[in-house]
Symmetry: C2
Subunit: 211 residues, 2 copies
């Protein structure tokens, strides 16, 4: 049974998510949310302990949207499905997504998302004691890549590749000179993500064979 209180809370979190995507995380304020749902700012404290609690619920909302992979799939395809789902969410909620990396992977929502990854690694034949660490390596890559991509770390800051190196003495960056025009090529981010996953599946396989 869904109470009126739960429904209002869900509306509050939904408004917070929309505000974040429309105006960035800085636009998520209790006052703005209150105005949007037709309450005074203080009334929100009946639903949420404070702003930190609200942000935790925002994280929980994102995690709740991650579908578990089809258990009939090969372990490889299950890992790939999870990774692609996470990156897809980063593209859907680019401004909220970085919270996943900064805030504690707090229970129980995170536990539910991680479980299929543990299962896939176990099914791959990874020794039990290596599973948690390998899961952290895998999810660190997936989250880190997605955050870098949508957060702009991989971007050029709106500059040409050429002007990007304008402020630097070429003598200080010899390897950039060795790479030359390779650095000016446009990047296919989908392909690079998939290539990273392919390499990580190789890592998993080798961990499974104790190399």
């Amino acid at each position: 049974m869904v109470t009126a209180k739960q429904e209002r809370l869900s509306e509050i979190v939904g408004v917070a998510l929309r505000l974040a995507e429309d105006g960035g995380l800085a636009a998520v304020s209790l006052r703005a949310i209150a105005a949007e749902v037709g309450l005074t700012p203080m009334a929100l404290y009946g639903y949420v302990r404070g702003k930190d609690d609200l942000l935790d619920r925002l994280v929980a909302r994102l995690l709740s949207e991650v579908a578990a992979p089809d258990p009939a799939l090969d372990w490889r395809d299950r890992l790939l499905a999870c990774a692609r789902a996470a990156r897809g969410m980063a593209h859907r909620y680019p401004r909220t997504f970085p919270l996943l990396l900064t805030r504690p992977a707090v229970l129980p929502d995170a536990v539910r998302v991680v479980d299929p990854l543990y299962a896939a690694l176990l099914d791959a034949g990874v020794p039990q004691e290596d599973v948690p660490g390998l899961e952290r390596m895998f999810s660190t890559f997936v989250l880190g890549f997605a955050v870098s991509e949508v957060g702009g770390r991989f971007g050029t800051g709106g500059l040409d590749p050429a002007e990007r190196r304008a402020g630097v003495d070429p003598a200080d960056v010899p390897a950039h000179r060795r790479l030359g025009e390779v650095l000016d090529r446009p990047v296919d981010w989908d392909a690079e993500f998939e290539e990273g996953l392919r390499r990580l599946l190789g890592v998993v396989e080798r961990a499974a064979h104790r190399e």
Copy 2:
């Protein structure tokens, strides 16, 4: 020659860094910095374009502290040195460090830090066109791991491993049940980071041999 203006700017960024580490990024305000350096908040606009610009300078300050690896070292040891230096900085500046992942890897400071990584990958025999992508994979792991570690994503949120799974129906997380007590063991983060690096060196080697 260092002008008085440059010195004051450097002081401003230093105060910002200290405020961030003492009270978190939320404690970094133009008004607090101004009070600390003995100016009115508006006087800061003579040194900094605004708060965003200040945060960019904070990132630049961190990047300027990353020492280039000894070029006499093997490519492997150069990659390891860079990775350990980055993680060490995360431990020194745990509250400021996450900015590195969220903000654009903006020039020219970031370029100078990346150059030794490009050099190491080239010396390893990685084909030119694979170098930038492999560098992004490597630095994504290093930054992502360090941010997760100091930011608390890898942490338990202050809860016992046991109570961590209290709010979850065991039937919903079968792989957690399969792993059992393995999940309750304490983690040696140094060892896990090194293990991740070891695995990534393997990835680099295979990229160098075109596998």
